[in-house]
């Protein structure tokens, strides 16, 4: 019974969601929106559960002085501080005015943005190192990849004056023809794979989401 009910729910709602997509009627739309509200409700509970889990894990780390427990203090401090600032010290619970709170903006603009941008920009260093090691003309295909990469990168370079337009045309051809063909094939492949997986889940063949118990 513990497994049959979830399987039945997935079957019923899965089939309904497929059909509603093809039924452009108000009642179908109403039911769809009703279910969408449920997604928000479930999402809010998941969020609450996530915050509780984060607090518990961090608290245990601090209590038992586990390795790097100091980071858990910063995590909890950041979490509670942003909640406090986001609600404008409790003055605005039901509107977005807290987002204009000076401290909330300062933490967002001067801590979150630089941290995330730094993490993302580290990619440049690893891409350079990886390109140096991986782009070797070991075979015909590797050489084609190497030449294509160089042409697409050279297109960005404004130093190439007279040959610039030719580079631009070649790079556009590479992006619009071989890249497009490969991407379309991948997109169609992924689409078919998603349909197959969704059918397996709806029909109860794929049950990994139920867990082991």
């Amino acid at each position: 019974m513990k497994r049959q009910i979830p399987l039945l729910l997935v079957l019923v709602f899965g089939i309904f969601m497929i059909f509603q997509y093809f039924v452009p009627h108000e009642s179908s739309e109403w039911i769809y929106e009703f279910f969408l509200d449920w997604i928000y409700i479930i999402g809010i509970f998941a969020l609450a559960l996530g915050i509780w889990s984060l607090i518990r894990v961090s608290y245990d780390k601090i209590k038992y002085k586990k390795p790097n427990w100091q980071y858990a203090v910063i995590t909890l401090a950041g979490l509670f501080a942003m909640i406090l600032f986001g609600f404008d010290y409790g003055r605005h619970f039901f509107s977005a005015e807290g987002l204009s709170n000076y401290m909330f903006r300062a933490f967002f603009d001067y801590i979150l943005i630089p941290i995330q941008a730094t993490m993302f920009s580290l990619l440049a260093f690893f891409i350079a190192s990886a390109a140096y090691r991986a782009f070797r003309a070991r075979s015909l295909l590797a050489t084609l990849l190497l030449v294509s990469a160089l042409v697409v990168m050279l297109r960005f370079n404004p130093y190439f004056g007279p040959i610039g337009p030719y580079l631009e045309q070649t790079a556009s051809w590479l992006l619009n023809v071989p890249n497009l063909a490969a991407k379309r094939a991948i997109i169609i492949g992924i689409g078919l794979g998603m349909v197959a997986t969704a059918l397996k889940v709806i029909l109860g063949i794929e049950r990994a989401y139920l867990g082991k118990d």
Binding site: S129, A131, F135, L175
Partner: protein, 317 residues
């Protein structure tokens, strides 16, 4: 001879940047070429050092280039330019701070262009962190550069709504069901911008700015295609090739990475004198990016020289 000294004194920051880059990077790469021929692979810390120099020098001594819009950018620019005054344009901020340095310049440029053309602009976000970045554009671009534009009359801010594709699936037929109010809790029925707009089908153009999920692809699948609304997008460079299959039918144009932002900014400056003095982060960031690309290409060449030299000597590369 007399003009020599003033010429030296009048040297610009950009010239200093180019000279330092040429000397440090060019000299360093020449030394590395010699080393590669002699001893093989270069330590990756040296690669990192060169990338650091190639990015930091043009930031300290700004190197800027003139850009010309490529067709994929120009088409989107032309669409906004040729829409009749008062057209409804939706700009969705679907990104987080990690992507912001790359795509926020596009958001600013789109906002500038649409407001300069007197279009009615609707700002929204499908990403939780997008709302604060949207506020940044309003604070840094819309309010100081267009003080005459009134919120609610000339533009509206719907803010963030959770639900990803679910949000799109609803607003494609009805905005008010998903956004009963704007970000300031004002009912949509009281907002002038929404007087004639019931759903996404009433929009003249949708622009999604981002690079993740939900993003431009989801906008095409759930709104652009089903409702037949023209769409454009500005995305991070890594995402741009994935969106090429949708161009030019489902996407009028794509701004890919800093290059796309720089091309759009240069097009704006070319046509609007009022934007000549505003900050142009896209154009400014092209300097470090171009130099870093040159260094990466040089390392690819060095890597291949080292590979062939090692192979010729009979060693296993």
């Amino acid at each position: 001879m007399t003009g020599w000294i003033p010429r030296i004194i009048a040297i610009s920051g950009s010239d200093i940047g180019i000279i330092i880059s040429l000397v440090v990077i060019g000299g360093g790469l020449a030394w590395l070429l010699k080393q590669s021929i002699k001893a093989g692979d270069v330590d990756r810390r040296i690669v990192f050092l060169f990338i650091f120099i190639s990015v930091s020098v043009p930031i300290l001594f700004p190197i800027t280039f003139s850009e010309t819009a490529t067709p994929i950018v120009k088409k989107l620019y032309d669409r906004i330019e040729n829409l009749p005054e008062g057209s409804a344009v939706l700009i969705s901020f679907d990104f987080d701070p990690a992507m912001a340095p790359e795509v926020q310049p596009m958001a600013d440029a789109f906002a500038r262009h649409c407001l300069a053309k007197n279009h009615k602009v609707i700002f929204m976000s499908l990403w939780a962190t997008g709302q604060s970045l949207l506020s940044t554009t309003l604070q840094n671009v819309v309010r100081p550069e267009f003080p005459e534009k009134i919120e609610g009359v000339d533009f509206a801010n719907l803010g963030y709504k959770a639900g990803n594709e679910g949000v799109l699936n609803v607003i494609v037929t009805n905005f008010r069901k998903m956004f009963p109010t704007d970000v300031n809790s004002i009912p949509l029925d009281s907002i002038a911008v929404f007087k004639k707009i019931r759903s996404c089908q009433d929009l003249d153009l949708i622009i999604s700015i981002g690079g993740g999920k939900p993003g431009a692809k989801e906008w095409i699948l759930f709104v652009g295609d089903p409702a037949n609304v023209p769409m454009g997008c500005g995305v991070a460079a890594v995402t741009a090739p994935q969106l090429y299959p949708y161009y030019p039918k489902q996407l009028l144009g794509i701004l890919g990475g800093i290059k796309g932002a720089a091309e759009y900014e240069s097009e704006l400056v070319r046509h609007y004198d009022r934007f000549a003095d505003v900050k142009k982060p896209g154009l400014r960031m092209m300097g470090p990016q171009t130099l870093a690309h040159v260094v990466i290409m040089a390392f690819i060449v060095l890597g291949n020289i080292s590979y062939f030299v090692t192979r010729r000597r009979g060693k296993k590369p």
